[in-house]
């Protein structure tokens, strides 16, 4: 329904308001120049902001240089099923650094109001064989390019966007759980009872603060499926997902495949080089799901595996937010 509305609105714009549109573009141009001017003349606010430029480097700019204008324009065009234009998000997880701190998990749970016995992010205690060393392996949704979950969904409630994200429309999901059976990474969780999340308001950057259903699959709804959403509400603000920023060891790198860069907030790396140098791989490559989450093998460890054991609970994920 929502899509239809925007479509017809767009057509209307195209047909009737061509002249107006030209004026509008002119106006945007003018405001741009104007704001540049003001930015130059204004005193710097002293509020610094980290941004990723098109060539992938992180620059620190004064927040007064960030223009509101473009932002609003993007929101208008934002179609939840299409995603953000010309982006392709990836994650790299460096297993050599993970010591099962579980900060990622609790941050993800808190920020997504996860109330069930499950969590969207899991940290597995892995050991391939008796003669290989054990390691900790965090998993999120792999946001596969050939997502098994999307293929089997009978009502298109779970969908793949151009920017790589696989999201769930919890207003449409019929709760058949076919996608859960299809996902080889067991990443999907189900709301078996009323989630009782309370009121969820996320600031999506537009005029009204509203529940962020079409952005992040929130709030959770009884009888429907949830999973890691790659935090589109954070990406839109040019921020990193909760798990990335929460990890004290910098295990998670997040970035854009088209720009060939990933960052964990501290260092920014060239994705292709990182994967080549460190022999990055994807989980269950043989299935052909083409995940967008890459792993760096647990070699040259930075932490001790044993340390993580204290925090490991076999039958419980981390504490839930109150």
């Amino acid at each position: 329904m929502k899509n239809n509305n925007t479509d017809s609105r767009r057509k209307f714009l195209d047909k009737g308001l061509k002249l107006g549109l030209i004026t509008a573009i002119g106006a945007v141009g003018l405001t741009k120049i104007a704001s540049k001017l003001t930015a130059q003349t204004d005193k710097n606010s002293g509020d610094k902001m980290e941004l990723m430029t098109t060539d992938g480097t992180i620059v620190v700019v004064d927040s007064s240089e960030v223009m509101e204008m473009e932002h609003a324009g993007k929101i208008d065009k934002y179609d939840v099923r299409e995603g953000m234009p010309n982006r392709k998000f990836v994650m790299v997880i460096d297993l050599a650094k993970c010591t099962n701190e579980l900060k990622c998990q609790s941050s993800c749970n808190t920020n997504h109001f996860v109330t069930g016995d499950h969590s969207w992010l899991k940290v597995y205690k892995m050991q391939e064989d008796t003669d290989t060393a054990p390691y900790w392996m965090p998993t999120t949704c792999m946001h596969c390019d050939q997502p098994a979950c999307v293929t089997v969904c009978p009502v298109d409630a779970t969908f793949k966007r151009r920017d790589g994200l696989v999201l769930i429309d919890t207003e449409r999901c019929i709760g058949c759980r076919f996608c859960m059976a299809a996902c080889p990474y067991s990443t999907r969780v189900f709301n078996w009872s009323e989630p009782n999340q309370g009121k969820i308001i996320m600031d999506m950057g537009d005029e009204t603060n509203r529940p962020a259903a079409e952005y992040a699959g929130l709030p959770s709804i009884k009888g429907t499926v949830d999973k890691c959403d790659f935090c589109p509400h954070k990406i839109k603000e040019n921020e990193l997902p909760h798990c990335v920023t929460a990890c004290p060891n910098g295990v998670f790198y997040f970035g854009d495949k088209y720009e060939d860069t990933v960052t964990n907030g501290e260092e920014t790396l060239v994705l292709s080089k990182l994967l080549a140098d460190k022999h990055g791989y994807r989980l269950m490559e043989g299935l052909g799901t083409k995940p967008n989450v890459y792993y760096l093998p647990p070699v040259d460890r930075l932490g001790d595996f044993e340390e993580g054991l204290e925090r490991y609970t076999e039958f419980k994920s981390v504490d839930k937010p109150k």
Partner: protein, 438 residues
């Protein structure tokens, strides 16, 4: 005409005796309990089941698969019995079609019980997408339902006509109903030709529809990357398994009806003998597919499949697995190979065993696979490592089974189970043969 009188007396639907009434009432009670449990499930969410994020499907789905499988008996009956014109089939085919109708209706209902949001059922039509095997199911189940109903209905027309006349004086109300159902059957040649043609078309239609139904049901699983489902063999495996379940159910129902309605003259030892041979055949075919499913992966011993199979062979599910394999397949084959084993009573007992085996077999297809995903189960409550249906799930499942039996019961109460007209025609033919011979 005299002929008809005796036949009508024997074969016209009879009022239930005391036992029949008690039976019907107990079924209704079970159904009501199931409905109460289901309402509770809707209110509280599927929390009331023992399903979890790993055992994400449970007894509802295996029960659904069982119903779909059982409905295959309609197809088998037609393919093997009606089209080949085996003349011993007459009393059996209609019972098979009654079972098929009951099973396919219940399959449609049970799949909805599993849905987390049954209130959004219409989304399947509003947003349905062709690439999902569930959408194929949404198309094929109603189709199969229609075909099964018509296949039961068309051959009934002349019998309804006869019953209309039969009850004209005694029970005018009932007679009126039969009259309506018979679509003003007079038995004219034109009507007969039309009826014959319609039956032929439907009988041919049900074969592809039945096979498609079973195959799609198998694809629900084999399109998923899971050890134990991800098999190219699964379609054929499901079809042969469905034949076993269907024929098993048929044997049981035929036996009960023979006893209750005293139809020994019409359903004889010969029928049981033939059905027994047929059951052995399908059991053997199914055994062959079972070997393919379980033994071959064991021999090639891929890591994932060996764990899965070891769980079945000697792990948590071993007792069930061996019950299903030995009790549900091997013992029936051995017993039915002997002539004595194909007498009505042993056949009935074997039929029960086969049906129970088939039901649990579906459970074994669904549950152990889900509990052995690719990544280990960690960081979830201990109870999520196992699955056994909860009270609610049992009540609801038993309710659906009772409902299937109730549909069969109601049908056999009002529908002549042994086709009257057809039997009359056949007897006439026999007599003619005798006369010409002597």
């Amino acid at each position: 005409m005299k002929n008809y009188d005796k036949l009508l007396h024997d074969l016209a639907p009879q009022k239930f005796g005391k036992k029949g009434v008690i039976w019907t009432i107990s079924l209704v009670v079970l159904i009501v309990l199931g409905i109460i449990a289901y309402i509770d499930q809707i209110i509280r969410g599927q929390m009331v089941t023992n399903m979890n994020d790993y055992a994400l499907w449970g007894v509802y789905i295996s029960n659904f698969v069982f119903f779909v499988a059982t409905s295959f008996v309609g197809t088998v009956a037609v393919a093997v019995l009606r089209l080949t014109n085996n003349n011993w089939r007459t009393p059996i085919v209609r019972i098979a079609e009654i079972i098929a109708v009951a099973a396919i209706i219940m399959a449609g209902i049970t799949i909805m019980i599993d849905m987390g949001r049954p209130d959004r059922l219409l989304n399947l039509f509003i947003h349905g997408r062709m690439q999902s095997p569930i959408t194929w199911d949404v198309i094929i189940i109603p189709t199969a339902m229609m075909v099964c109903l018509l296949l039961l209905y068309f051959p009934l027309l002349p019998d309804f006509g006869l019953l209309h006349k039969h009850y004209e004086d005694k029970k005018p109300k009932l007679s009126k109903w039969y009259g309506r159902l018979s679509l003003n059957w007079t038995g004219s040649d034109a009507q007969k030709a039309l009826q014959h043609k319609s039956i032929q078309i439907i009988a041919i239609l049900i074969i592809p529809v039945g096979f498609m139904l079973q195959t799609i049901d198998a694809w629900l699983f084999s399109t998923l990357y899971r050890v134990g489902w991800d098999s190219t063999n699964l379609g054929a495996y499901f079809i042969s398994g469905a034949s076993v379940a269907g024929i098993g159910a048929l044997v049981c129902v035929v036996y009960v009806l023979q006893k209750v309605y005293k139809l020994e003259d019409y359903i004889t030892d010969l029928h049981f003998d033939k059905l027994g041979k047929f059951l052995v055949l399908v059991c053997l075919i199914y055994l062959y597919f079972n070997l393919n499913e379980y033994l071959i992966p064991q021999l090639t011993s891929k890591k994932g499949s060996t764990t899965h199979i070891n769980v079945l062979f000697k792990g948590e599910y071993a007792p069930l697995f061996w019950f299903v394999t030995i009790g549900g397949l091997i013992i029936p084959v051995i017993v039915l190979l002997f002539k004595q084993g194909r007498k009505p009573l042993p056949m009935f007992l074997i039929g029960l065993l086969v049906v129970a085996g088939s039901w649990w077999k579906r459970y074994l297809i669904v549950t152990p696979t889900l509990l052995h995903p690719f990544l280990p189960i960690q960081g979830v409550p201990e109870s999520w490592h196992h699955y056994f249906p909860s009270m609610h799930e049992w009540l609801i499942t038993i309710g659906t089974l009772a409902m299937a039996l109730l549909i069969i019961t109601v049908l056999v109460r009002y529908v002549p189970i042994v086709p009257i007209q057809k039997t009359a025609d056949e007897q006439e033919e026999l007599q003619l043969n005798k006369i010409t011979k002597s």
